[in-house]
Symmetry: D4
Subunit: 167 residues, 8 copies
């Protein structure tokens, strides 16, 4: 059973989504990962959405670049929350993917994250937040993780000061 | 008890958020609505986040324009999903609000919607989708609503053809 | 039998597509016009693509705004040329629709036109150019139309000079 | 006899257009390739358009960067479909070439593709789609190619899963 | 004899170019004004460039919107300085016209002005500056005009202070 | 004696700067207001900078649109803090003024505010903050003003809730 | 005692802020440097603002990338001048950080500098200008530094001419 | 005696301006080259403008990046044509320099070229075109150069075809 179904539009996006997988693993959230394209394999995309729903997916994550329609196509075929990760590309720097993901019409929201790896990581965190609404153990892990993050900021501050002192 | 806590950065955003309120009412989802500013009333914003959590809010919606930090500030103080609605303004047309809302750092996601009224409506729909994960009745209403939407598209197509025939 | 199948993403786009219809009528090219949404009525969109192909459509035109996926979805389900017309909207001025339409991935082209009414008119002209490749009569009409266009430019120049002289 | 006439604005664009040539060769579509500039060799551009038409070209492809006028100039001198490929450059990332190519005035459409190599490949696919309208054998090849594309997506998905399993 | 040849891409640009005409008249510089389109009347555009050169034009001004190729086409057919005025339009606000005008390839410069009416006025001033290089009387008029401009700034400052005092 | 010297690039910017004047008056900070252009009255601009310094100006505010050089020119001729207010204009919506104001080279900072009226108001607040560093009474007024702002947010929230209850 | 409190949103910004530290050291202005995040360590950020104020900070500098809220959060909790340095990142090239920093709402200004290292250096210069208002020695150093800068420009001009002569 | 006075805002722009120098040398046009900054050495900039005018400069060229005010400052102090070359920089890719250069106010035009090296080369060509208006020998050289350019395009086309044949 997978609680989160992740789709990427092309295997060139696998680098970007890596961090999302690692975070879900850290939180112990089962997930599936598939390459599928809104345009090159539209039927497969639909089949994967239906299969994921049957296998218990509560949240979808879709990462794609350029005219990034993948998240939108998934959102058109499910009533579960769909998280979109726009992927940067050369030229327009990801503005194309960002606008294609976020500017969805009324009635079919895509929960859009930041561009690239940061957005992929945050897609995982948001999925955990959503699943945590009905899972106290997950919520506790999230809470500890937030504290660790704040502590890490403090550590890096100390390290920087240390480094400057020695320089 | 409010399941969704809505914040707007200024009362000039109340027009934009209207539709979100109407949709939540239609779905029978209890919500609260407050004006609070990330910058002009930062302490109040924190107090409202804590109060909303105590009163049972599972999802936050924050709408703001320009350097739209409201959703980000809320997200920094809760582990619940936070939905951001960037509001258009003259000049940069909302690109400022969109980027300020969506480009959140790793660890603190804001689920970003489309600009303006469309985004406000979709924030409500996404909140319903999230709450629907553990509420079968809400899920059923969503499902019927999707069918109505598709039917409405068909109706408007028929109406358009009719209008052209007469013209 | 319709040689061109036109889809618009919402009846609010009917104003934009008007000129395309008028031009196809002027050239005597039979066409169909339907409202259908990539996101709100995805199944209907597929059905319409299949029906149009059966009824002899050689070219598709799809006009949509914001995260304009309609042309892309059509292109994913047909091997016929698909012409996309990005529609302006408030805020980002149509840059979202333009990038969502044009930045298609390898293998699934969308022939993208200018924004708005100009693009809608040109979608019709391009459809006529494509159909004209195997229709000498249509080609002749196009040729005459080009000459008329050039003559109209000359007329407007004369009118302007006349107006300035009198002023 | 060449069915497709390809023009590039400068030999620095030859890398970008490569893929278009390869695809046309794969589909067995005869084409010509010439360097010509809308601005530095305007007369030559006109001569090449006329020659290409005489030699049977049904479709034009023009790739250029910056103030990319090449496709527009070709479109002003032919009634055949003209496909424009905007080429990225440093600085503005190709937004200049994209807007210069796509924002054509009413009456003279340029069928605009995505930026760079993706757009060049898609220019070839669109040319094949247009030629396929009156060439059943070409249509069959296109149809098989689409299936291969979908299969390739599935393969890359399997490969990714395999790779993750081993890691 | 016209020293400056002005072309506008469409009669809808006549409003924008008005101010350029008025300024040239004020400076006593003879000019011609024609509507001609790079795309809809390419042959006419060439004819007009040649005729203008024969009639003594030393400077060209071309105003156009969207994929504004008019100045570039003129520059490709003359060795005289060509001044381009990008015209705003709805949607992209003139960024398309600006980039299409300014990003010319090496060897064929277009002297680009600000967007719209300001740019049209400045095109006239620049033409006067260029003609003034070999016309001392014109140079004197320019010099006086600059002083008047500075005086006008001072006047408006006084008027503003006066207005505030009374308020 | 004026503690703040305000310059606007044209009397069409007087509307924008209004609010800055009102705020400085409310805080009892003496200021001067002059129209002067970096380009049309460069000598006057220099004279005004020198005069303002002599008359005790500690902070400069400069508001201008388009290629907004006014603040930069002032900053090049003083060592006092210079606050720049970019003014929106049609077309590019003020992005031109914003970038021209903020992207100053190393060594000559311009303290850039938000676009338009909001930025003008904030220029006044920042001037008060800077002057307040050595003026405890001003600091107290600022402090009370901040509290009033927070209270105003709370009032508008109450008013909105009231309005919704009645609706 | 620190007169300037510098915050960076992540230790990856320490490279950017380096130059600001060096300049403050050159001018003999005591400062503190801490890593703290508006979103990952919001409580720490508040504590640091309060501590800095107690320890005598007169000016704050905050550097951050993407949805750069750090300067805004600091500005919401102090009445001292806050200088924001937007940091570039891949993809949108810093436009996100620039708009998130500069487009602050009325009442809570952030004095925004240029992107990246240039902006960091200028944040230090602006801090020195502000502190110099009540510190004649600092003002003198600034004045000499400006002269050195002008002399350095002249030197580089000579060096360039020299280099060209030899080439 | 220098007919063209070239200014660059910093020695880091010397690479960009190189090509302009080479072209002016090829055409035998005497020019001067100086580094001077609108902001860091404003007095020097004025002195250089006056000196250049005395020494016979008929055209100014100014290249600068970011908030590129150099050309504008020069234009404010001369009645000769001023050509601006916006220089790309990291982050915003030169859009800042382009808008700062081109969006000049009414009355003070800057003749703006393309970004970077292409624009620098074209600044030289435009200077030659302007000087050529009263110098038939220069005009002849320009005319031959245009023919060479067209021939070079043809050569590169032949070379490309040759290369493809061999591959």
């Amino acid at each position: 059973m997978s609680r989160v179904a992740i789709f990427i539009g092309s295997d060139s996006d696998s680098d970007v989504i890596q961090e999302a997988c690692r975070i879900l693993e850290d939180f112990g959230v089962p997930f599936s990962l598939d390459v599928t394209s809104a345009h090159r394999s539209p039927d497969r995309t639909l089949r994967l959405v239906r299969r994921a729903e049957k296998e218990g997916a509560a949240v979808f994550i879709a990462a794609a670049g350029k005219a990034a329609h993948l998240a939108g196509v998934v959102a058109a075929h499910t009533l579960k929350p769909v998280i979109g990760v726009p992927v940067e590309s050369a030229g327009l720097g990801g503005l194309d993917a960002l606008l294609s993901t976020v500017q969805m019409p009324k009635g079919v929201p895509v929960s859009t994250m930041a561009l690239g790896k940061t957005g992929a990581a945050n897609a995982a965190y948001l999925a955990v937040q959503i699943l945590g609404l009905s899972d106290p153990a997950l919520r506790d892990k999230l809470s500890r993780h937030r504290e660790d993050m704040a502590a890490a900021v403090e550590d890096s501050s100390r390290a920087l000061r240390e480094k400057r002192r020695r320089a």
